[in-house]
């Protein structure tokens, strides 16, 4: 018997009113995500994939269809499902410790301190506990935001182009960090990106979106074990397949 899906998106559609008319952003999206799965939602900029993530996260209400998590309809944001932002959403007025502990206000001081220490270490920010975000590099801020999300022990993470603002080397480091963290903390992850390589490196499955109104064009299984060899024939084959699916020639 297959276990029930963690996230289940059913015939989802989203339209935004504009003066007199409306823009259809999402159209009849159906997707099921298994518990512990890392699914990349891949699509061109502005296709509506961020909107999809905001709907699944409970920050936007869809105009049609439904999102179910653990079989229950999503009614709003929930600390069991944390959204990690495209722009860095760490709080600049709090230290590293303050940020990691932000969502832990219901815990007793001792347990809180323990969790903070654990997650600061997990994301490799030991020694920076009392630093403020403006004293950190872009990659460190992104780690901090991931630590803040993980500290509340959510079972789903939504990542909206989290590494988009980082330089290409830091981005590669952050991807392997994410995979390392994922081995330590089994979470269901929905990861929005417009970077084809990123999706092939990270995902169990890649959901390819069309341009607006966004529909699912294809779902590709990335049947490669981790760590993935970026020059393996299968990697290149999958990447080329996605390039073609997105409609891009892969020669420059």
């Amino acid at each position: 018997m297959t276990p029930p899906p963690k996230v289940s998106i059913r015939d989802l559609s989203m339209r935004f009113p504009t003066d007199g008319s409306h823009i259809e952003v999402l159209s009849s999206i159906d997707l099921e995500v298994k518990d512990g799965e890392l699914v990349c939602i891949l699509g061109p900029s502005g296709c509506g994939k961020s909107t999809l993530l905001n709907v699944v996260g409970g920050f936007l209400k869809a105009t049609g269809g439904a999102v179910l998590i653990d079989g229950r309809e999503v009614a709003g944001p929930d600390p069991r499902r944390i959204f990690v932002f495209q722009e860095r959403g760490v709080f600049p007025w709090l230290t590293v410790e303050g940020n990691v502990g932000f969502g832990l206000f219901r815990l007793a001081a001792g347990e809180r301190a323990e969790r903070i220490a654990h997650y600061v270490k997990l994301v490799g920010l030991s020694g920076f506990e009392n630093a403020y975000p403006q004293e950190l590099s872009g990659g460190m801020k992104q780690r901090l935001e991931v630590a803040r999300a993980l500290a509340v022990n959510p079972d789903v993470l939504f990542l909206d182009e989290p590494f988009g603002a980082l330089d290409s080397i830091t981005r590669l480091v952050m991807r392997s960090e994410l995979l390392r963290i994922r081995r330590a903390e089994k979470k269901t992850i929905l990861f929005v990106t417009h970077d084809i390589d990123e999706s092939v490196q990270l995902a169990d499955r890649v959901v390819v979106m069309s341009t607006r109104p966004a529909t699912i064009r294809r779902i590709v299984d990335i049947d490669m074990p981790h760590p993935r060899d970026l020059s393996a024939p299968r990697y290149i084959e999958l990447r080329d397949m996605l390039f073609e699916e997105i409609g891009l020639a892969h020669k420059i």
Binding site: P77, R81, F83, G89, F91, W93, Y132, Q134
Partner: protein, 258 residues
């Protein structure tokens, strides 16, 4: 380099001040003017004030009035601004009134202030309150309105109730802008106290200036009072600027750095 920044921070402004005094002194001596006292005369006027024991009393009175009116503006203005920034309906209701009251100089309230409070401590306190209140309200309101939606979304995501969200996200995110408003308001309060003391009371630096002119045309005392006002204003501003360097708000006073 440390020495260079020390030169720029202290020696350059001191040099400019010294030069200004020299120019002032020479100008008075060469023109034999009687409409402006020389720096030496002003210095001896300051000594005279200190000797009569009124210098510190007047300074203390002015500062106390500012402290009273300003504290009241702070305690009422920040919460009012936060509420207006958070609640658009409240802002729609009150904004026209605020925008109309704001351009009325606090000094225009003088006749009513004297009618209501008489020649007393309360009259200048009220005027200072009015002068400081509106900039504080407007800065707090704008501070709340410009809190990035991302911070609010993150706060909600972690399960914060509205009061918690206000205390732990909205207020700290708006604090840099609030501090700017507080500094501007402090400058205005210091402007208003001098003017208010010229009319409504019989002590303080404003009173010193108007009384020195009326009783004996002592322009050396007038200029001495002016310099005191300037110097204390400078110190107040330096103090307010120090607040902007606190670690929890410093992020708001630097250009966006990655």
């Amino acid at each position: 380099m440390r020495t260079r920044s020390d030169v720029e921070r202290f020696l350059l402004p001191l040099g400019t001040a010294a030069l200004a005094i020299v120019v002032w002194s020479l100008a008075v001596r060469l023109t034999h003017t009687t409409v402006l006292p020389s720096p030496l005369k002003v210095a001896s006027a300051l000594r005279e004030l200190a000797g009569r024991g009124v210098l510190w009393r007047y300074v203390g009175d002015s500062l106390r009035r500012v402290a009273t009116g300003y504290s009241l503006a702070l305690v009422l203005g920040v919460p009012a601004g936060l509420a207006l920034g958070w609640n658009p309906a409240l802002a729609s209701a009150f904004n026209p009134v605020i925008q109309m009251a704001r351009p009325i100089s606090p000094l225009a309230w003088m006749p009513l202030a004297i009618l209501w409070f008489g020649v007393s401590e309360a009259a200048p306190g009220f005027l200072i309150f009015l002068g400081a209140f509106f900039p504080i309200v407007v800065a707090s309101m704008n501070g709340v309105r410009s809190v990035p939606a991302m911070y609010l979304q993150a706060g909600r995501n972690f399960g914060l109730s509205t009061p918690r969200l206000l205390a732990r996200v909205v207020f700290p995110a708006a604090l840099p802008q609030i501090l700017v408003g507080l500094r501007i308001a402090l400058g205005i309060a210091w402007l208003v106290v001098v003017a208010a003391e010229m009319i409504a009371v019989d002590s303080g630096l404003g009173y010193l200036i108007i009384d020195s002119r009326n009783a004996g045309k002592r322009y050396d005392l007038v200029v001495a009072g002016m310099l005191l006002i300037g110097a204390i204003g400078l110190v107040l501003d330096l103090f307010a600027r120090r607040l902007e360097r606190l670690r929890t708000v410093r992020w708001g006073f630097q250009g966006e750095t990655a």
